[in-house]
């Protein structure tokens, strides 16, 4: 067995365990990557609590996460439920919904950079159909973050595919039995479908959170963290301190806080979900 898993074991030691431990060490040092690190104790961590940009990045990231992740999941689940029925053009709809998820990354950022342009972009043009004079989106500190949140809904299709796979795993015999007992659509959904797909929900919730805590591309390509730091995401802040200001020690402290936050969030969700998430046969093989 160890022969087979040795590539991962080595990779784990070299590319994960060693970096985690050294990043913990760096976080207690003053370090610019070129000169050797100098131990300064907890100074980086105390600085963080007095640093405005740190708090800005935390607020921006949490606001983004708490709106974008739940809405995106609801959309994905909604689309999946619609497309799980037999419906004309089902194959077309599935592909069309998934398509935007293939554009992710820089290409998507460039496209939406134009869509959100207040003068010539598509978004405000469409709003004008309804007589709405659209805001300046990425150019205004009040709306820039919301623009990025709206953009994130465009890729709900990738979650939809996972939900569809989950829905296919719900035994139709259960649903038929419930229908015989006179259960309506809503009760079937609440009492059978939802518990049966709860592992997919849990998986997506955790992965969605972790991804959203790490937003970088949009900030880097579309806004450079602005205007007025309104899209100063946590990882953008981290990248900036490490590779623009050459403060790798302080940046490592930021990295460790991120790591701990992710672990705490995951642990809380796992704990809470124990009561609700249903695995076939009680325990997974």
């Amino acid at each position: 067995m160890y022969l087979f898993i040795s590539p991962w074991l080595i990779g784990f030691l070299v590319f994960a365990l060693y970096p985690i431990i050294s990043s913990l060490y760096y976080s207690f040092t003053d370090y610019d990557i070129i000169h050797p690190p100098r131990f300064i104790g907890l100074a980086n961590y105390t600085e963080m609590f007095h640093n405005d940009l740190f708090w800005k990045s935390v607020t921006v990231t949490l606001r983004y996460t708490f709106i974008s992740v739940p809405v995106q999941m609801l959309l994905a689940l909604g689309f999946a439920l619609l497309l799980h029925q037999t419906i004309p053009l089902r194959g077309f709809f599935r592909t069309a919904m998934y398509f935007p998820s293939m554009v992710s990354g820089v290409a998507m950022s460039l496209l939406w950079y134009w869509i959100f342009n207040p003068q010539i972009g598509l978004f405000n043009y469409m709003l004008s159909w309804f007589g709405i004079h659209g805001p300046a989106w990425l150019m205004s500190p009040d709306t820039a973050l919301y623009a990025l949140i709206i953009m994130s809904f465009w890729t709900a299709g990738s979650g939809m595919i996972l939900f569809l796979a989950g829905l296919q795993g719900v035994p139709s015999s259960l649903i038929e039995a419930a229908r015989l007992d006179g259960a309506g659509r809503f009760r079937i959904f609440k009492n059978i479908t939802l518990p049966m797909i709860s592992p997919v929900l849990l998986f997506q919730l955790i992965m969605g959170l972790i991804d959203s805590f790490q937003v970088f591309t949009q900030a880097f390509v579309m806004t450079q963290g602005g205007p007025n730091y309104s899209t100063w995401f946590y990882v953008y802040n981290l990248y900036n301190t490490a590779f623009k200001e050459y403060r790798a020690g302080y940046s490592s402290a930021l990295a460790w806080v991120l790591l701990i936050v992710v672990l705490v969030f995951t642990a809380i969700i796992m704990k809470l979900s124990n009561r609700y998430v249903h695995y076939e046969g009680g325990e997974r093989r």
Binding site: M1, F4, P7, M97, V106, L122, G169, P199, V262
Partner: protein
């Protein structure tokens, strides 16, 4: 509907409902509208990429180009050395796919076939690394690679793939676990070693799962921005996303809108092609590996 239920001895499933089901009509209309909204940006991406610089600045945007500016597609090769960017990205993504497939399939097989106590412990550790945010290990990795003189080479972007990636190992392990034990018993009687069984039994039966992993790995590498931004410094080594990101940078007073769209279209081409070729296996793979 109640009459259907009463007269038919079979249970009417949702598949055999009558046509004029109001829920289905509503669903269909909702789907039409949302799909229209989802595809509209893509439509404009393509149509805008063919508009002249001047037409781009018009408001409201025209649906179709007034005159088709095919020259945009050659212009981008001059402005951005698009050919080089494309080649670099393809090399990196190609090597990443090969590395991921080889290593992840090997490791996943190890995890699927042996179920000792040590194994479970390592597997739990593997799953936990899926939650490890890349930025948390980014700085020490950078220091490590710079000590090895790997900065401004493709090595930091490619080599880690040869050591397996947690998510893909997990997917393949789930798939390998579903292969019937009898197959391997037969192989053992024929005197196959484990490595040979991996190659001759497990891999050939796993085409959909392997295709899924290959696509995931390709898309991931193709779209990645942060790692190439960190490691590549000379412009002839840039990947496509790094080069494209420079289009919005301050070196242009007005963003070259038409080129942004051309770049987006061209960046999509390999992914769409891949998806079109492997779509069946891909969807099957997602369902079979059961990410649930």
């Amino acid at each position: 509907m109640s009459t259907v239920k009463a007269t038919s001895p079979r249970v009417p499933t949702s598949h055999s409902r009558r046509k004029a089901d109001p829920v289905k009509i509503a669903s269909f209309i909702t789907l039409l509208i949302t799909t229209f909204l989802m595809l509209l940006p893509l439509f404009f991406m393509v149509s805008t990429s063919l508009k002249s610089k001047r037409e781009m600045l018009k408001f409201p945007p025209t649906f179709l180009p007034e005159s088709w500016a095919w020259s945009n597609y050659t212009e981008i090769f001059d402005t951005l050395q698009f050919g080089t960017l494309y080649k670099n990205s393809l090399i990196i993504a190609g090597l990443t796919v090969i590395g991921t497939l080889l290593s992840s399939a090997l490791v996943a097989y190890g995890f699927a076939r042996y179920r000792g106590r040590g194994n479970q412990l390592w597997f739990a550790l593997l799953l936990s690394t899926m939650m490890l945010p890349y930025p948390a290990i980014m700085i020490p990795q950078f220091v490590l690679f710079s000590k090895m003189n790997w900065i401004d080479t493709f090595l930091p972007l490619v080599v880690p793939a040869f050591f397996g990636s947690a998510y893909n190992i997990f997917l393949l392990r789930q798939f390998f676990s579903t292969l019937p034990e009898e197959l391997f018993d037969a192989g053992r009687i024929d005197g196959c070693g484990e490595l040979k069984m991996w190659r001759t039994i497990a891999l050939p039966l796993s085409a959909p799962a392997l295709a899924t992993v290959a696509i995931f790995a390709f898309i991931y590498s193709w779209n990645d921005l942060l790692t190439p931004v960190l490691y590549l410094s000379s412009s002839d080594k840039f990947t496509l996303p790094v080069g494209m990101a420079s289009l919005t940078s301050s070196r242009f007073r007005i963003p070259p809108w038409h080129l942004l769209m051309v770049a987006s279209v061209l960046a999509m081409v390999p992914i769409v092609t891949l998806f079109a070729v492997a779509q069946k296996q891909f969807v099957e793979g997602i369902v079979l590996t059961g990410i649930k």
